[in-house]
Symmetry: C2
Subunit: 232 residues, 2 copies
C-alpha cells in the first residue's frame, strides 16, 4: 500500500471567528495545518493568544508568528492612535472603507503565506475573507483574491517549475456570519476561545460596539444560537 | 498660477546597481522620491548602507527601512546558511532558479510598497526588476509585474474609491546591464557607491564571482566603461 504524504495547507489565522472556522474546514478536508499569524502592531495581544489556542486545538504541525512592520507605515485605527468607530449600522459600514482598514494588509499577509508555501512546499493557502459581511474592505472581494492567485502563480517556483498551482482558498467568501457560525459549530469550534473585538478591555472582554463585535453579535443572533463572547 | 503638488514615487531600493539607476530615472521624471528598503536578514549590511547613501544622493523626502521576517521562513542562500554559488556562466544562471532566490521576495516588497502608497498617498511604485539579465528569478518577469499591478488596484482604496490607478514602473525590465549602466552614468549615478555582491568580504569588497557580481562585471565590460567596483 502506498502511503501518500498528507497535503499541507497554510491557514492565515487571527484567532478570530472567521479564521478559526476556516482552520476547522481545512482540517476536515484532511490537510496538515500550517498556521500563520502576524504580530503587526495590533493595539492588543488577545488576537495572538487566541490564534495560538486555535492552532493547538486543530493540531497544527506548526504555528508561525511573523513580525510585520505596519506601524512604521501607519494609516489605520488598528495600528495607530485613531479612535475605533463604535455603534455603526451595517449600512454605515458598507458605505465606505473604514478607518480600521489596514492598508494592503491581506496582500502583505498573503505574500508571506506565499513565501512559506514555496519553502514547505505547500500549494494550498486558506484565508477567511468574507465578501458579504466584509465591513467595507477592498481586499476581501472575490475579484481581489482571484487576482492575487493569478499573480502568485507567476511569482513563484511553484507556478514556474514544478507544475503545481498555488490555490487561495476562501471557503467563507459567500457565507453570511450566521452561516459561518453554524458551519463552525458543526465542526466543533469553540467560539468562546476566539477573539474578534478591535478595542477590548484590559482583561480581553469584547467592547460589543466596534464593527467587528457588531457583525459577530448579529451573526449569533441570526444563527439563533447563544453568543458565548464575554462582553465588558 | 496654480502650483501642482509634486507627484510622489515610492522607489524600492537595495542600494544596488539596478535600483540606484531606477531612483535616478524617477528623479529625472520629476517625482518626489520616497525610498523603501528592507532589512530581511541579508547576511551582510552593506546593501542597507548603500541604500541610505542612494536615498541621500537623490534627495529622497523619506528613506524608510522596514524589518521583514524572512529568516523564520527560510529557503534561500541570501538569508540561510547555504553556500552562494560562484563562477557560474550566464547560461548556467538562466537554466534554473538559483539558491539565491528569496521566496516571494518581490511580492512581499511590493506589498509593503503598496501599503505605503495608500498611506502617503502615492500612485507610482518603481522597482528595478530586469527580465534580460534577470538571473532566473520568476518574480522579475513582465507578466508577473502586470499581474501584481492588476491585483494592487483591486486590493486598495486607490483602485476602489479615489479613481487613481496604482502603477508599477519597471524602467529596466527590457534593458541589458550595459544599457542600464550607460543610462545611469548619463544621469550622474556613482556606481562605486552601490553594492551588488551576495557574498562580500568583511570590509565590503565584492567577491567578483557570485551571480550578481558576474552580471555586474559583464555589464561594465559590455558598456565599455571602467568598473569602479572594489573587488577583494
Amino acid at each position: 500500500m502506498v502511503i501518500q504524504d498528507q497535503a499541507k495547507a497554510i491557514v492565515l489565522s487571527s484567532g478570530g471567528l472567521d479564521s478559526t472556522t476556516v482552520m476547522a474546514m481545512a482540517r476536515r478536508e484532511g490537510y496538515a495545518i500550517y498556521s500563520l499569524s502576524f504580530n503587526y502592531g495590533q493595539r492588543h495581544a488577545f488576537e495572538l493568544q487566541a490564534a495560538a489556542h486555535t492552532a493547538e486545538m486543530f493540531g497544527a504541525v506548526r504555528h508561525l508568528v511573523l513580525d510585520v512592520d505596519l506601524r512604521k507605515i501607519g494609516g489605520s485605527a488598528l495600528t495607530d492612535d485613531i479612535a475605533v468607530p463604535k455603534g455603526r449600522s451595517t449600512a454605515e459600514m458598507a458605505a465606505r472603507i473604514p478607518v480600521t482598514y489596514v492598508p494592503a494588509r491581506n496582500t502583505i499577509f498573503l505574500a508571506y503565506a506565499l513565501a512559506w508555501a514555496e519553502v514547505l512546499p505547500a500549494a494550498d493557502i486558506f484565508i477567511g475573507v468574507n465578501a458579504l459581511d466584509y465591513s467595507g474592505y477592498p481586499d476581501c472581494r472575490p475579484e481581489y483574491i482571484a487576482a492575487f492567485e493569478h499573480m502568485a502563480n507567476l511569482a513563484t517556483r511553484a507556478g514556474t517549475e514544478a507544475g503545481t498551482r498555488i490555490r487561495i482558498h476562501t471557503p467563507l467568501i459567500r457565507l453570511s456570519k450566521a452561516e459561518i457560525i453554524l458551519q463552525g459549530l458543526a465542526l466543533g469550534v469553540d467560539y468562546s476561545k476566539t477573539h474578534s473585538c478591535y478595542d477590548p478591555a484590559p482583561d480581553g472582554a469584547a467592547c460589543g460596539r466596534c464593527d467587528s463585535c457588531a457583525l459577530r453579535r448579529k451573526g449569533f443572533g441570526e444563527a439563533g444560537v447563544a453568543d458565548p463572547t464575554r462582553y465588558k
